[in-house]
């Protein structure tokens, strides 16, 4: 979805900020403070010994030794271990070799590898590696071999700051950018650590100023769908995200109100239209205990763009775009497809940029298409036909036929049965019916701020298996 088109969007929902007092946070619960001599035993290491960034061939582009307990050259074995695993079909993102464990992720053509000798907290190491990628993207736009080399001094500085002795430290790239910058050192005065680095509010700096105070909220729902070959819906799930762009001065307190079923029921509004969220995940800034207590979403936001929360729920609504396929394979000669696409949402909504991606055999040739609407394109690199429909109103049904020749010699490798994928976006609409009821913004200087809300539903992992 393009965020650029934002301000031109006609159906912006504009609200005035309410500036009532924030409720006081409930008093801390009292806990037993008896001094007892408990038997306990500690023992947990979260430590990565070293972090490496490698090119696609396994050559080290840059690395940092955090603990000095490991022979840094052990990385030389990494690539051959990965390749062995791949060959044996035992690929895992964790490889044990002697007493060293390699933990890695792949991004673009780079490997980010952490090594450890300990029983480390592995979820933490993976989260950290992914965070590292994110930081570098925010610093350098894209990361690849070239951008690593072009910025190696800065990357060393970052590696020094984001992890110490194997313990992740400050990883908020907006805060990091305040004191680790490419041109910061041209200044005569050396930078100082921003307050935020050690504050309880570690994600926002003080003294932010905007002439116009505004907040943009994007409610984006992605539909994950899995349909069996005989047309049964196996899974249908909505993963929603509320993304924000915050341009507010000072240290504003925000409170977001949703039509959350649990909240409505506990406050006696059980009859109003509400949404039952199965699981909710919040950005670091949201006060989790507060949410646990009374379902209030209260927070001091980071500056700029971030994801405030995500939620997940199962749906029992009809799949928004339904695809039926009839595939006739005539071995050694041709294969024919008959694809029917149906939009199963209200007529007043429209799905945009719909793409139905239909897998075809790798050795198919001479594509021929016939369709009532949209256009078709054979994409040999994806071994697929892409049927694009720019605008697909609700309650419609379209048809497409495709015909391919097959070679007379049968391919040796069997290809499996990749599913049909569908991409789409439906603006001004949420499948779950979730609504932003209010966003209260309170800052001590008392300015008025404008929240803008926009809704969109799009495909997530949307797969329909074929016969």
């Amino acid at each position: 979805m393009s965020l650029q088109s934002w301000l031109k969007s006609p159906a912006l929902l504009k609200r005035k900020a309410a500036t009532s007092d924030l409720e006081n946070t409930p008093p801390q619960k009292k806990f037993c403070k008896t001094m007892s001599q408990n038997s306990y035993d500690w023992c947990r290491k979260m430590s990565a010994s070293a972090v490496y960034i490698l090119d696609v061939k396994g050559k080290v582009l840059i690395c940092r030794n955090y603990r000095g307990d490991i022979d840094m050259s052990c990385i030389d074995k990494f690539m051959s271990l990965v390749m062995d695993r791949e060959e044996e079909g035992h690929m895992t993102p964790i490889i044990q070799h002697g007493n060293v464990t390699f933990v890695y992720i792949k991004y673009n053509n780079l490997y980010l590898v952490a090594t450890t000798l300990k029983n480390c907290n592995i979820a933490l190491v993976f989260s950290f590696l992914h965070k590292l990628v994110q930081i570098m993207i925010e610093y350098f736009k894209e990361i690849e071999e070239e951008s690593i080399r072009d910025n190696f001094v800065l990357i060393y500085e970052l590696l020094d700051e984001v992890m110490d002795f194997g313990f992740p430290q400050t990883t908020d790239s907006k805060i990091l950018q305040e004191y680790i910058t490419q041109d910061g050192h041209k200044l005569e005065v050396a930078p100082r650590p921003p307050m935020a680095v050690t504050n309880a509010v570690s994600w926002r700096s003080e003294k932010i100023k905007y002439r116009k105070n505004e907040v943009f909220l994007d409610v984006i729902e992605s539909v994950n769908l899995l349909v069996s070959a005989n047309g049964n819906v196996l899974r249908s799930e909505i993963v929603g995200a509320i993304k924000m762009r915050v341009y507010l001065s000072g240290m504003p307190e925000l409170r977001l109100g949703l039509n959350d079923k649990v909240l409505f029921e506990s406050t006696g509004r059980g009859k109003s239209k509400s949404v039952e969220l199965e699981d909710v995940k919040f950005h670091q800034c949201v006060r989790l205990s507060r949410f646990e207590n009374d379902r209030t979403i209260s927070f001091i936001p980071p500056d700029g763009e971030f994801e405030l929360m995500s939620y997940r729920l199962n749906t029992h609504v009809k799949p928004l775009i339904w695809v039926e396929s009839v595939i006739e394979r005539h071995a050694h000669s041709r294969v024919e497809y008959m694809i029917k696409a149906k939009s199963q949402f209200k007529r007043r909504s429209t799905a945009n940029n719909v793409e139905i991606i239909i897998p075809v055999p790798t050795d198919a040739d001479t594509p021929k298409f016939k369709t009532t609407v949209g256009n078709c394109k054979y994409a040999p690199d994806l071994n697929s036909v892409i049927w694009t429909i720019k605008s697909f109103p609700g309650g419609k049904e379209y048809l497409m036929r495709a015909h391919f020749n097959l070679p007379s010699v049968l391919a040796e490798d069997s290809e499996g049965k990749p599913p049909i994928h569908v991409k789409f976006e439906i603006p001004y609409f949420t499948v779950s019916g979730i609504q932003v009821r209010y966003l209260k913004i309170i800052e001590k200087s008392g300015y008025q701020a404008l929240p803008w809300v926009r809704y969109i539903t799009q495909n997530g992992d949307y797969q329909l298996r074929t016969q």
């Binding site: 806990f31 037993c32 403070k33 008896t34 007892s36 001599q37 408990n38 035993d41 500690w42 947990r44 290491k45 979260m46 079909g89 690929m91 895992t92 993102p93 964790i94 044990q96 007493n99 992720i105 000798l117 907290n121 592995i122 979820a123 993976f126 989260s127 992914h130 070239e146 080399r149 072009d150 910025n151 190696f152 001094v153 060393y156 020094d160 110490d164 002795f165 990883t171 908020d172 004191y179 050192h185 050396a190 100082r192 650590p193 050690t198 309880a200 994950n224 899995l226 196996l234 899974r235 699981d279 995940k281 919040f282 950005h283 670091q284 989790l288 499996g416 990749p418 992992d461 298996r465």
Partner: protein
Amino acid sequence: MTDSKYFTTTKKGEIFELKSELQSEKREKKKEAVKKVIASMTVGKDVSALFPDVVNCIQTDNLELKKLVYLYLMNYAKSQPDMAILAVNTFVKDCEDSNPLIRALAVRTMGCIRVDKIIDYLCQPLRNCLKDEDPYVRKTAAVCVAKLYDINAQLVEDQGFLDLLRDMLSDSNPMVVANAVAAISEILESSPTAQQVLEMNASTINKLLTALNECTEWGQVFILDAISNYTPKDDKEAQSICERVTPRLAHANAAVVLSAVKVIMKFMEMLDATSEYVLTLVKKLAPPLVTLLSAEAEIQYVALRNINLIVQKRSDILKNEMKVFFVKYNDPIYVKLEKLDIMIRLTSQANIAQVLAELKEYATEVDVDFVRKSVRAIGRCAIKVEPAAEKCVSTLLDLIQTKVNYVVQEAIVVIKDIFRKYPNKYESIIATLCENLDTLDEPEARASMIWIIGEYAERIDNADELLESFLEGFQDENSQVQLQLLTAIVKLFLKRPTDTQELVQQVLSLATQDSDNPDLRDRGYIYWRLLSTDPAAAKEVVLAEKPLISEETDLIEPTLLDELICHISSLASVYHKPPNSFVEGRQGGLRRVLPPKSSSYRKHTRR
């Protein structure tokens, strides 16, 4: 302008050239030279010869240059311990700089210079930094204590740094608390003697729980992991900790969520399993675990390995979530295999039809490992859910009809297990199985087929011919197949003694006289003697009724499972092995056990 230009010097005498540049009077030139040195270091060239020249640049106001020199020092100090002393003065001085960024940088780097000689000089600066007015310096100094402990534990204890570290748990700044916790956990793991100083009690735990709400996501993980190693004094305390940890399940960071799950799984053991509180808590655990399956593939993998443990410990947690484990076409293979495993664990009569339909679909995929495991899974379903056994068997027969070689072999292996679970029920399919005899080339499949023939010899008219056909290449067979063939022919003989005497003698002599395998020889002799001394006894032994195979043969043994639950989110939980099996020496740490049910709970149940 990019940094890549620093990598492009390849002339001879490069080191010499760099040396003169490093000695330049011009600040800019000096800085450029240091960058070139670091660039060389990055591509793996040995630039240790420049040590004195680089260290000479350390006295600078330029932060960028200082950082680069420090980086160089960390890399080469160990190879030049005598020269490293040259840097000591600067560290001491930088630790007193007016800029907290520089103080912290100095104390951070200091701890990474693992040279014994200079450590003594660093104690005073470290002591100052531990009490610095700036929390950024204090949090860095806290970690430095752990670094120093790793190099010289005695010194740290003698200098009283452990006490200072413990006091930091009460620091007003949550980041300082979090790093102090991390450092303490680290130290306790390598040294039991530190326990006296660093003991945790209810009041420190309470402080940690307060800091939990305010520190960074990583700090939350340090704190949660530390709390998970504490043993509450009773069920009340355990419950109150659980209550304060539960909100973390809504954190966006998967590591925070899993560490919270660990604390809750562990402390829940102390609570009355039937209490209202525990029932709600169990309900609260499912959604966050399911959400982890929308994370990055690697995190999904860690989550799945942990879920595998969790459902073995508390099977009720995810019993209604079968569908989320259905495999997607584009899942990485390691995610697919783990999902499959959990599907089997969650299979019950309520969802077997769906599961079976899925497994059948998977069995026609292309990835051989995945297909094999799917076929095997169908067999496990048959054994686990009795009413579905027939459906499973017919699904397996359908798969055998595909004639895909490895599918057929895998199917025969699991059908053997099904026969062992439901004897005398499905022998009508034996004829179909026998049709595929010639295509079996894997030892396990051959052995399984031979077992089936021996077991049902009386109903297979040409059992003797079939077994004889295997006997031809006896010497070349895998020992598993040889053993099975020996037993099967003896069974056949006991059931049809009249026309199989020759066959049995043949196999006995092959096993006892022509084999080097002691297992095979011994088994051959036992059969031989049994048959020659007391055929009736032989019948009782060889054709004895076998115990039915158990429903779940692959469950983790309960004490190991309990230990692994204490290691949720760690490598051990992914390997499904205790840490001491893959971490060397003491580092494996003490064995973890789940806390016992609390005494007050025991009283409660007695009532």
